[in-house]
Amino acid sequence: MNWEQQQQKMRDIASELLTNGKVDMIIGYEQASVNGKAAPAFITSPEEIQTLVWNDKCENMLAKYALRYKGKQIAIVAKACDARAIVGLMVEHQFPREQIVIIGMVCPGMTDERGRIYESCQVCRHHNPPVYDHFVGDAMEEGEYKLSPTMAKIDAMTPDERWAYFTSQMKKCIRCYSCRQACYLCYCNKCFVDRNQPRWVARTTDLSDNIYYHLGRIMHTAGRCVQCGACERVCPMDLKIWYLAQKVSDDCKELYDYDAGLMLDEKPALADYRLEDSQKAFVD
């Protein structure tokens, strides 16, 4: 099945769901007005179905939007990563399974303006949505672990070089919190950076405060993140931050054999344990 065939099948399913009143809304993608990208679409009538698109520009993480419509019956056009995100949010009781119809899209990976496949998609191992109501596309072979180009670069660095690279990114941060806004995991009512009592971190763009914010956020998403890459794609200052999330996810996979969002009855990696877990962080 190619993109267009998938798009047609997706529209058929969406149409059926809306026409028969099975859902109140479809969250999917429509053509954006600029730069050839797809934008999130919120379709409530069958007439609008034709505006739904499916192509290699559907990079937005839609699970974030599903959070806005808690309590409503919705269907969501879900790439594998969106589907995993939805599963993660269901594990965290953000909505019951019955409230969301998952139109699962097999996804070979998304591309940027210049047609280059995103780094997060290059190394993605899960092309097929693990949980779905409708499966759209031909199941792809699940990928092997691949080292991302950024991580390959970091791996080769000395600690000093790593720190230099990391701070070169952190210096650029203007604390606009776009990464937080784009992340489906950042659904707290009030982020720790905005708390006053206690004050966890100052609201400055001091390098140290920037680092605190980013590391703190990564620790909060640790063991839950599906590595969709939205945090990095939305950054107006082009901070390379996705590799941090990727590192933590790789650790969870390697140490705890855990991939976020694959199963509805699996606790996030850091909310679970085994007696024989790795002791590598501990002195003998």
Binding site: Q94, C191, F192, P198, W200
Partner: protein, 1009 residues
């Protein structure tokens, strides 16, 4: 207040019994012969099968004893005589002279430093030395010195040659050379004996050279050698200092040995030897050889078999051989073991260290006491126990628990101790006792929005702190800290007059926060919190900082740095105090009735025990009749009839006005929490709602249905339970017959990788019964390992004497069973006989299978979900802690006993059921459920209801409310660990008393102020 109970023995049994009684509101005199409570468990390094640190789990219980207002500890005291009768005893207790004023001594240990007289340290099994003035061990309670008058120079010399160093150095003037032994009389309603055991004197086995070969040690010595707080600081060494490379452990030294008049099995040695071997490997990774020489590996307890399998995987070498002699190389002091295996082959193996797994034996002094007090003991000296009354002695009102009544491990000891508390409570509950004054209630001052006014008291602790830290300078420094209104330095912050002084200063300076910089909060925090309480301040407004144990004592050569550190710590404490909030202990109403699930031996026993203590009980049984498995059994190992006992028990249960029996009834829902459960029970067409305060799970387990050895295919093949019924009703069928029994059918196999514990004893018991009826019956028992632990070993011995054949088989060469071709009524059993090295075939009339005990997985899983309590991988319920909390779940108010916990014999079931009743009664006895102040608290505006806290809470104390969509803390269940708080991303959950603000403030104070 009811009449007090005396508990004799301050080991884990005595501690547990005392705590249970005190929790039930009954005053306790805890009498211990040593200068400190703790007993044998305090000497152990780790405990099997969890490898828990023994001190870590024991010490909190010891402190609880010391701090409980209803427990009075008489340490260094002995029971001389018991006069009177049940309900009205006079116990004569000799308080031995310790030559130290217990009230005055504050455990500073300066006397230990100056005492010139070295003495072998008994606590360390004489491996190293202590002083004549000493403390039994570091964490001892009471934390008070004692002088050993056998060695003290002052006490043993004439008056002209005075040593007196300890008296001179003592800053509290606590030394009392003139003290003498003193008898006191205690009026008590019941007495619990929990005096424990001695270990077998290994010198009595001269062939092993203990006492003459220095690298042959006993297992108790080895525990101290392994212990991090032992003579070698946890580095495993031979007594001659060399690190061992090859260690042999010899089992059954002084157990199962008629030659030294110890025929019984000591029950615990197989497991502790395995544990010692496993821990040794952790200490010395490169060790070459760890060999255990044994007869039968008796890994019969819960999860023991898995431990055994793991030990094998870790390369522990198990050698089924008897060691006949040990020889020592006089140069290297290495050892040579001569051993004989099953086939009679002799081997010689070299080791550089040998650990003798010495058995457990009664204490001679206790045997004497029992004789004086008219308490019957068996021929070894263990207090006589009845299968159906395992905790009672022959003297009414005197109860016994722990190894005193026979060898057993810690969890069994603990539940027996609880059971003893239960029986004692029944005796004294209506007897009036002395009024114990309740602490005076001072109205709490509302500090509302007052700005913090902090008082800081820096303690000299004589010279303990001031000798290193410049206390004056530290106090001066504290004056400049924000919100500090008053500072003083005190000689002894803990002294009674200083406490009064602190109270005065709180009033005079209108303080609303107090910081004391002195010793460790682990021992002294309650003391100072009490000062605040009496001054009308919420006790949680107190902050303690440790500048002695963690500062002056460990930086003796660096006074300047230590002073700087003390200042830092005081600054951090002030910062924490700034954020300290008054925390409220909630008082919740509760129901005083119990629900017991399961009407077998366990359920009926605990129900009756609770009813006799005056609590209403609902007993729910799914079958139409009460009785469970015990109804199907014939006699106990000691020959007591189950039928008669169960009839009487059932009648008592039905007759008791406090017990409501619901048979053919099923639990369909359980709501609520400790003190306030609501359970829905279906009984036929009716649905009944029960309100109750606690739950006891006593659902039992069943004999499994074998799927091998022609079971179900041939009428002559039956299980042990079926055999019991046959013996009862058709015993003549067996006359003159040929019978084969196979052990471990379905146990210790991949599908059930555990030992079913009861089958070896059951097979032996049935074989004896048949043999005694007709000696011409031929019986062969095919076994993998005979696990007739404890006194059951005597029956194994007896069966052999009666001519029962015991033949061992290997699991990978199991007996082969076929129907005889000529006579289809008979069964051929073929097996390999190790002794003669040949395959034998028996044409049997009956084949009896010792089928595994199995949990009802499905129904247990259902119940576990309703109660939100865990089950283990074998389907049995999983207790809160395998060692010290064997009858309760981590979730408060829910208890378990009997075979729901693990397979066990009837006497153990009864003891455990009584233990569960005691633990349950400790909740029911209270007027209210009082929650702790240091519990988690949810900010509902920040909570996003992700439920992570709910999924990780070990106590099920926090859960997302489905209506409100926020997490809600049940303060009655919360233990204040703070895991939820550290895990909550938005910081919606915080742990009061250790909240984020208080912790971050300490960091800020340390680095940013």
């Amino acid at each position: 207040m009811s009449k007090p109970v005396m508990v004799l023995g301050g080991g884990i049994a005595g501690i547990q019994a005392s705590l249970d009684l005190a929790e039930m509101g009954i005053p306790v005199y805890l009498v211990e012969s040593q200068p400190s409570i703790g007993g044998r468990m305090a000497q152990l390094d780790k405990t099997f099968p969890t490898n828990d640190c023994s001190t870590c789990i024991l010490a909190p219980k010891m402190s609880s004893c010391a701090n409980h207002p209803l427990i009075k500890i008489y340490s260094y005291s002995e029971l001389k005589d018991i006069r009177g009768r049940a309900g009205d005893f006079t116990a004569v207790v000799t308080k031995k002279a310790r030559y130290v004023d217990e009230e005055a001594c504050n455990g500073c240990r300066q006397c230990l430093d100056v005492c010139p007289q070295y003495v072998d340290d008994d606590f360390n099994m004489g491996i190293d030395q202590r002083k004549a003035v000493y403390m039994l061990f570091q964490q001892g309670i009471p934390n008070v010195a004692a002088i050993d008058d056998r060695f003290c120079r002052f006490l043993n010399r004439d008056k002209n040659d005075k040593c007196g160093r300890c008296a001179r150095i003592c800053p509290r003037k606590a030394i009392r050379y003139g003290q003498r032994d003193k008898d006191i009389e205690l009026e008590v309603g019941a007495i619990i004996l929990a005096t424990g055991y001695d270990t077998f004197a290994a010198e009595l086995k001269p062939e092993y050279g203990y006492g003459s070969y220095r690298n042959v040690v006993t297992s108790m010595e080895y525990e101290r050698i392994m212990s991090a707080s032992g003579p070698y600081g946890g580095h495993i060494k031979r007594p001659d200092g060399k690190e061992p490379k090859r260690i042999a452990f010899l089992q059954c030294v002084g157990s199962r040995d008629a030659k030294c008049d110890r025929e019984y099995c000591s029950s615990v040695c197989c497991m502790y030897a395995m544990k010692e071997a496993v821990i040794t490997r952790e200490h010395i990774k490169s060790i070459d050889d760890l060999s255990i020489y044994y007869m039968d590996m008796r890994a019969f307890g819960k999860d023991f078999e898995r431990y055994y399998e793991n030990a094998k995987k870790q390369g522990i070498n198990f050698v089924r051989s008897r060691v006949t002699e040990i020889a020592e190389d006089s140069d290297t002091h290495d050892l040579k073991l001569y051993a004989v295996d099953e086939q009679g082959r002799v081997s010689e193996d070299e080791f550089d260290m040998v650990v003798l797994s010495v058995g457990l034996v009664p204490r001679p002094d206790v045997v004497e006491l029992c004789q004086r007090a008219g308490i019957k003991t068996d021929r070894y000296g263990f207090v006589h126990a009845d299968d159906m009354a395992p905790i009672q002695t022959t003297r009414e009102g005197v109860l016994a628990c722990g190894v005193l009544t026979g060898p057993k491990d810690i969890p069994e000891t603990v539940y027996e101790a609880s059971g003893a508390a239960s029986l004692a409570a029944q005796l004294v509950k209506d007897l009036p006792g002395p009024e114990i004054p309740k602490p005076e209630e001072v109205p709490m001052r509302d500090i509302g929005r007052e700005r913090p006014r902090i008082g800081v008291f820096v303690c000299h602790c004589g010279t303990n702190i001031a000798g290193v830290v410049d206390v004056k300078a530290a106090a001066e420094y504290a004056k400049a800290l924000p919100c500090v209104e008053y500072v003083d330095d005190t000689m002894y912050a803990c002294a009674a007059d200083t406490q009064g002084f602190i109270a005065d200063m709180i009033k005079e300076h209108d303080l609303n926060r107090v910081v004391v910089a002195s010793c460790t909060p682990r021992t002294h925090e309650p003391l100072f919190q009490d000062v605040l309480r009496k001054s009308g301040l919420n006790p949680y407004l107190f902050t303690m900082v440790n500048i002695r144990d963690q500062c002056s004592w460990v930086h003796m050569d660096y006074p300047e740095e230590a002073t700087e550190k003390a200042k830092d710590l005081i600054r951090m404490a002030v910062a924490k105090a700034y954020y300290a909030q008054p925390l409220q202990q909630q008082v919740l109403p509760k129901d005083s009735s119990a629900l017991v699930i399961g009407g077998g031996l366990a359920g009926m026993t605990s129900a009756l025990s609770l009813a006799k203590q005056g609590y209403k009980v609902y007993l729910v049984e799914k079958e139409p009749v009460l009785g469970g498995n015990a109804r199907l059994m014939n006699t106990s190992a000691r020959g007591r009839s189950f039928e008669q006992y169960m009839d009487e028990l059932t009648e008592s249960v039905y007759d008791h006005p406090y017990i409501t029996v619901l048979t053919s009834a099923h639990i369909s829902a359980v709501e609520g929490y400790v003190g306030n459960f609501i359970t829905t029970v279906r009984k036929g067409p009716d649905t009944i709602k029960l309100n109750h305060g606690v739950i006891i799970v006593a659902v039992g387990a069943n004999e499994s249905m074998p799927d091998e050895y022609l079971y179900g295919q041939h009428p002559a093949v039956m299980t042990q339970l079926k055999l019991e019924r046959q013996i009862k009703h058709h015993v003549d069928d067996f006359k003159g017959k040929r019978i084969v029994m196979i052990q471990c059918v379905g146990s210790r196999e991949p599908q059930r990788p555990y030992c079913s514990r009861v089958c070896c004893t059951q097979a032996v018991k049935n074989a004896i019964c048949l043999k005694e009826m007709d000696p011409t019956i031929q019986i062969t028992i095919l076994y993998r390992e005979m696990r007739t632990y404890g006194m059951n070993e005597l029956y194994y011995e007896k069966a052999r004497r009666l001519g029962v054949d015991f033949v061992r088989y290997d699991v990978d060469d199991k007996p082969r069973v076929t129907v005889d071709e000529d006579d289809s009524n008979k069964i051929n059993v073929e097996f390999y006989e190790h002794l003669i090295g040949r395959t034998l075939k028996i044409k049997a009339d009956y084949l009896i299978l010792s089928a595994a005990i199995e949990a009802d997985r499905e129904s247990n899983a259902e119940l576990s979900q309703m109660l939100k309590v865990p089950i283990n991988q074998d389907g049995f319920f999983l207790e809160a802690h395998m060692k010290l909390r064997p009858v309760e779940f981590a979730t408060d108010g829910i208890f378990l006993c009997g075979m729901a916990h693990a397979p066990k014999n009837a006497d153990e079931v009864i003891a455990q059921a009584q233990g569960a009743a005691a633990r349950a009664a400790s909740i029911l006895a209270k007027e209210y459920i009082t929650t702790d102040g240091m519990v988690a608290k949810v900010n509902r505006f920040l909570c996003v209801a992700c439920g992570i806290c709910e999924s990780i809470c070990p106590y099920k104390a926090i859960a997302v409310d489905p209506q409100l969509h926020v997490a809600v803390v049940n303060a009655a269940l919360c233990k204040g660990c703070g895991l939820c708080s550290a895990t909550c991303r938005p910081g919606a959950v915080d742990l009061q008393g250790f909240d984020d603000s208080e912790i971050l403030a300490q960091l800020d104070a340390l680095y940013s102020w």
